[in-house]
Structure formats: C-alpha cells, structure tokens
Amino acid sequence: MIRGTVHFKIEICKGCELCIVACPQESLGLSNKINLQGYRFAELIKDNCTGCINCALVCPDAAITVYREPKSALRKSGKEAVEVK
C-alpha cells in the first residue's frame, strides 16, 4: 500500500468533518482539543493514509496539506495530482 500523510493547519480548521467523511480509509477524526477559534479540529487517527487527497479537495477552508510516497514518477506535484486526466 502507498504511504501518505496529511498535515492540518489546525488554526483555520472549523471541524466541519467533511474531510472525515471524504476519507475512504477512515484515517481522520476530530481531536478532543479545540483551536483558538473554538473548534475541535481534524486530525489523523490511523496510520493508513494513502495520500489520495480526497480530504484536501473537499476541505472548505483549504486547511489540509497532503504528502505521498513517490509513485513511479506519475504524479509529481500537488498541481498535477489534482488534474483530471
């Protein structure tokens, strides 16, 4: 399985949970902590993220950065990764 991971800009996350629903791996959940805006923010809860970027695509606050194992040179940058072919 390809390994990926996500980083959240927790201060701009609003805890809407849309990323959690979008994740096919069920890797995400809400933290028990709250950010300065008063929201429980999203976080990685399992080690099975594949870096599919689904969560980042649906995030209304552009709070998610996604990293992934280089896969045979196909998709290199974030820009190419979201291109629909």
């Binding site: 399992k46 970027i53 995030c59 606050d61 194992e69 820009k79 990764a81």
Partner: protein, 264 residues
C-alpha cells in the same frame, strides 16, 4: 496510538494555493463557498494568470471574497456583479474577468443583468453559487428554494402557488446564443470537486479564446441557513437539490467536426 505523520521520503501532493491570502475564511463550517473559492484560486495559480485576473463579488456571503482571493477585485452592489464585470471586461478585454454570485444575487435581484450579460456573450466567467437560500441575511427564501423547503420567510414551506417555482436559471442561460459553456457542478465529493475544477479551467481557457460567456452553477450547501451539520447538509443537498438541479453540462462547445456535420 502514536500516529506517524512524518513526511520523510514523501512528496508534496496537495497544498493550499498561494493565490489565496492567509486570512481564514469567515464562512460557516462546511460552507461550499470555501471549496469554490479555493478551486478558483487553484486554477488561477496553475494557469499563471494571477496578474491578469480581476474578480467581482457582490453582496452575499461571499462579499468579502477579496479578503481571500489574492487578485485585484471589485465588490458590487447586490445583483449587479455581471454589469460590473461587463464594465471591467469592456475596457480591459485582454484580462480574465469573473463574477462570483449567489442565487439571490444572480437569479432574483440581478436576473436582468445576468440574462443580458450572457445574451451579449460577454467574455467573462460567471460563477453562480446555488445554495437555495439567502445566506448572508440569515436564511430567507431564495428564488432557488425548493418546493416545501422551510426558510425564515417560508416558514410553512415554499408554496409554489403563492411564490412560484424554484427558478432553474441555468437552463434559461443555456439557451442563449451568447452562452458558450454552461455547466452545473457541485462541491460535495472529491469527484465532484475535481469536475468543478476542470470546469473552471475550461472556462478560463475559453475566455482566452474570446468564446463568449461561460456560466458555471455550483449546487452548494448552506449548513447554517438550512439548520444542519455540514455532513447532514451535503446529504440533504444530494437527496433534494440534485434531483431538481441535476449535475452535468447544459451546453458544451461543439467540436469543429460536429459543426461540419450539422452544416451538411
């Protein structure tokens, strides 16, 4: 359990576009406006047109779009965004110009401007966020509110006998000769987000070629106005909005080949 979020050996595959400012969106949690803003700015970044793009956002929840989109922008009066965009495009024909309008703005108070801008085939992109409600003013009925839908000004549900039917303005737009590309997309799933982004890309490419008006309806949510959680709102949108406002292209440019066969 300790989660491994180390990026060692990994590469960056997605990040917030640099064409968005660092200002956090003021939108409610889960609001589709955020996704649409982000995608528009991703496309502007990827096409390298930040220096040549001017946006217009009228009154509505997205009135502060200029806080977030790092491009030159104008704020327009309620309903007048397409007229303002027309003014800009007419004097700066080589720049990319878009308007970003809500359903109240575009399909109620600004209907005339919308129709005539498209009818003139103004070379602009009109982004139409259809969330079936007036978000900014606190959840009143919109021209796009569904039959039976409860809002603060249709507390017994929208009654078509009193107030008419939800307006499918995009279908009206599609029949105008000035419209070059008309599509209806959404922001609820990763797949739909990809499609919407593609539609934005195409629209700017068509604009570069002076093809006429590109019109993109984004069927969106308003969790606050609808009184739902974001996850519930998206589900409600899929079950109620999509049947009435089906996603897909309403008008696509004919290829040269198709044109030839029609002429024959």
């Amino acid at each position: 359990m300790q989660i491994n979020d180390s990026i060692e050996g990994l590469e960056l595959v997605y990040q917030r576009p640099a064409t968005l400012t660092d200002t956090p969106f003021h939108y409610c949690p889960g609001c589709g406006h955020g996704v649409a803003h982000k995608l528009l700015m991703e496309v502007v970044e990827e096409m390298g047109i930040q220096e040549n793009t001017i946006g217009v956002a009228p009154v509505g929840c997205s009135v502060f779009a200029y806080h977030y989109m790092n491009i030159d922008m104008q704020e327009a009066a309620h309903g007048r965004a397409s007229a303002v965009a027309t003014g800009i495009k007419r004097v700066l024909p080589d720049k990319f110009v878009f308007s970003y309008q809500g359903d109240g703005d575009l399909a109620a108070i600004g209907t005339a401007e919308t129709i005539h801008t498209v009818n003139r085939g103004e070379n602009i992109l009109i982004v139409f966020i259809n969330n079936g409600i007036y978000g900014m003013t606190g959840g009143q009925m919109a021209p796009t509110t569904l039959i039976g839908q409860i809002t603060s000004t249709s507390p017994y549900g929208r009654d078509e006998k009193l107030i008419g039917y939800p307006l499918k303005i995009t279908d009206m737009i599609a029949i105008l000769p000035g419209a070059f590309y008309v599509t209806r997309q959404s922001v609820n799933t990763a797949g739909n987000v990809r499609k919407l982004k593609k539609a934005f890309q195409k629209s700017f490419e068509f604009q570069k070629l002076n093809k006429g008006t590109c019109f993109i309806e984004v069927v969106s949510n308003c969790p606050s106005g609808w009184g739902m959680t974001p996850v519930e709102a998206n589900k409600w949108m899929e079950e109620n909005m999509f049947p009435y406002y089906p996603l897909g292209d309403l008008k696509v440019p004919r290829t040269e080949k198709e044109k030839g066969s029609n002429n024959a």
